[in-house]
Symmetry: C2
Subunit: 133 residues, 2 copies
């Protein structure tokens, strides 16, 4: 494998015991917010053939989290915004860990862009599979 592709950002001390801890990490969610908006913008850029900068709707991520069977890992009273945060935390965690590349993430979103919820559901499902392995 290429040393650059495989290069991980090693500065983070990962102390997550399980999926729930990743999903509930608000700091990871903030980094995830920057990452998800970037890959989403890249996907739109690919589709429209011109540079686009955009933010993913929190509702879209919350719905995707539920469809991907990940809502159950969060406390019952967690609001939709925090559900979106959870999705963002997991998506960037998978990239940081090298479980999925940025290119693959963008391709997956792009391929299902007709339905944003579906695109992020499939991304979360794929990521969950890989992170658990």
């Amino acid at each position: 494998m290429c040393p650059v592709c495989q290069e991980k950002f090693t500065g983070i001390r990962y102390n997550y015991q399980n999926l729930r801890e990743i999903l509930m990490d608000k700091k990871l969610a903030k980094l995830g917010d920057a990452y998800v908006n970037f890959v989403y913008s890249l996907a739109l850029t690919e589709i429209y053939g011109e540079p686009i900068g955009a933010r993913v709707n929190s509702d879209v991520l919350a719905k995707a989290l539920k469809k991907a069977q990940l809502r159950k890992f969060l406390p019952v009273r967690v609001d939709r915004h925090s559900q979106g945060d959870a999705a963002e935390a997991l998506i960037v965690y998978a990239w940081l860990q090298g479980a999925i590349s940025l290119q693959e993430t963008v391709k997956l979103i792009t391929a299902h862009m007709g339905n944003h919820v579906e695109a992020f559901t499939l991304l979360l499902e794929e990521i969950t599979r890989r992170v658990r392995e």
Copy 2:
């Protein structure tokens, strides 16, 4: 070279005739905003050893643009926010074109993080050299 690293996002139709056109592209700046905030967040994450999501101050980018001798490519009356936009447009353009990798960008920022203006000045100088080659 690794096919993944070298893989470019080819959806964009690049019609830029010169550096000025890149710096003045507001759509590219929007995508650049998402990218720059992400790489900046990653640099902070590396330094502090925990996930951080942050936005780069527009003033920092405007000052870096001037120090990197790129201010002269913009009209005289362009405000500081648009100067920041110009820096963001060029930074993401370099990445999209494969002139600099995301990892290298983060490392360069991280290495000079004691002075944010200096960090982005060096990044812009390096990018300008490569884009012009």
